[in-house]
């Protein structure tokens, strides 16, 4: 009796394990085919979004397809900015030292240029904290003329791609602040970088001269 019991138990254990093993295998195959299907559908997607940006010039920053949000919660792509010159800087609003100086330099440019086809653009490198509401508040605090200024926030990938094409370096520090380059960019109507002004609190005459060349 005892022997028979042991035999039946061990057989049932083997049976159970075989079933489990097979189940595992089936699941794996399923998972694979799902992943493959996903890949092809994604490939299709990327084929179709590419078509939209075919016309931009070879060096235009506006070829980046990322979607941004303005301080007024409007969704825009960079290509929507074309047709006007942009004085642009990448900043974060909780920045206490460098960014206020950059904004100040940009205001100096604003005060000294008579051209009304020049707009001013601040792009946040801090997607976590710089929501549209925060950007709006920042604009108010800095008394920015919203007819000429626009503030954008986007996701981490969008920020890094834009930074990469501008040669803008930044790094998030453990305390949540950022180390970053200080660059004021002048973009022409097509979104090409026409001039870059490096550093803080310097004469902005070079930027004004380059605006007038455009």
């Amino acid at each position: 009796m005892k022997k028979a019991l042991i035999i039946s138990i061990s057989f049932s254990v083997i049976l159970l394990s075989v079933v489990l093993y097979l189940l595992g295998g089936v699941k794996k195959v399923e998972r694979q085919s799902i992943a493959e299907a996903k890949q092809t559908s994604d490939a299709n997607k990327s084929c179709c979004t590419e078509k939209q940006s075919g016309e931009a010039s070879e060096n235009s920053v506006y070829q980046l397809e990322s979607v941004w949000k303005t301080e007024a919660e409007n969704k825009i792509v960079l290509n929507d900015l074309k047709g006007r010159k942009q004085i642009m800087a990448m900043i974060f609003t909780s920045c206490t030292y460098a960014c206020p100086l950059i904004v100040n330099d940009m205001k100096k440019i604003e005060a000294q240029t008579k051209r009304n086809d020049v707009n001013f653009l601040l792009i946040s490198i801090d997607p976590e904290r710089d929501t549209p509401e925060v950007l709006m508040q920042y604009a108010r605090n800095n008394k920015l003329d919203m007819k000429r200024w626009r503030l954008l926030t986007g996701d981490e990938n969008s920020v890094s791609e834009l930074a990469a094409v501008l040669g803008f370096k930044y790094k998030k520090e453990p305390d949540g602040s950022f180390s970053h380059s200080n660059i004021i960019n002048l973009l022409n109507d097509k979104g090409e970088v026409a001039y870059q002004h490096f550093g803080l609190n310097q004469d902005v005459q070079d930027v004004l001269e380059n605006i007038n060349k455009l």
Partner: protein, 266 residues
């Protein structure tokens, strides 16, 4: 008695089967990748003088750098990334310039050698297509500091010497094939010795916490004031990689710079 023995053996086999099937379902490492169980990376430069460490979560990493043959396969499936269609914003004129044409590798490269003359955007697009991404500097450096025997070889003079010897040699005209040198502690090949590799956040190579004036950054790199903050003076190879990364631009395609991908664990 004989029957009892047979029974015990059967029981053991059954138990082993259960264990194997359970493991089969748990371990699902993507093909061609290895598991990096994470760790701690100390950036060469921190914001503060006392060095700050970065915790690196576990991830999968490609065993080898992406090869010419693999990248050709990608380009065939994604014609946007053909050499002739490339826009300067995404890759400069050296992009895949060592290939014969859009669809042929030609004589100058080996199919099984790391692909080079690749921009950051191209490397990123490749990884994304295969549901992967570029490693961060922290991830790359964590894996790259492993010697053959230890997860951290950065204090091992022989290991450092080996890397420096490679750095001091000019890039050969034809880059050798992947996998011919030994693997490191994690089972990853060719992080050193063949080509340099792109990282997702190469643009984070700055020096000081608060940057007052942009040009000062690079100037301070190897001068007294800059290196006061450095966390590890002996690790010259890490200094060199830092300097190399800080000189890169996203559309640069050069003959000694390739890449590999990583994948998050879900």
């Amino acid at each position: 008695m004989g029957l009892k023995k047979v029974n015990t053996v059967l029981l053991l086999i059954g138990l082993m089967n259960i264990i194997v099937s359970a493991q089969n379902r748990k371990v699902n490492i993507p093909e061609g990748m290895v598991l990096i169980s994470g760790g701690v990376y100390t950036p060469l430069y921190g914001a503060k003088k006392d060095s700050i460490t970065v915790k690196v979560e576990p991830f999968y990493m490609d065993k080898y750098p992406v090869t010419n043959a693999q990248f050709l396969e990608f380009v065939k499936k994604n014609p946007k990334w053909q050499r002739s269609k490339m826009k300067n914003l995404f890759a400069d004129k050296n992009y895949l310039s060592n290939w014969k044409s859009d669809s042929e590798l030609g004589e100058k490269v080996l199919p099984n050698s790391p692909v080079t003359n690749i921009s950051w955007f191209a490397a990123k697009a490749y990884c994304k297509y295969y549901k992967k991404r570029l490693p961060s500097v922290a991830e790359w450096e964590l894996v790259a500091k492993a010697s053959a025997a230890k997860p951290d070889g950065s204090q091992d003079p022989n290991y450092i010497k080996q890397i420096l010897e490679w750095y001091s040699r000019p890039t050969p005209e034809k880059i050798p094939q992947i996998g011919l040198r030994g693997k490191n502690y994690w089972g990853v090949f060719d992080l050193h010795g063949l080509v340099w590799e792109w990282t997702s956040d190469f643009f984070s190579a700055l020096v000081t916490g608060e940057s007052r004036g942009d040009s000062g950054l690079e100037r301070n790199l190897f001068c007294g004031s800059g290196s006061v903050n450095a966390s590890d003076f002996k690790n010259y190879p890490a200094f060199m990689r830092f300097a190399f990364r800080s000189s890169l631009k996203a559309n640069y395609a050069t003959n000694n710079l390739g890449f590999r991908c990583v994948r998050d664990i879900k």
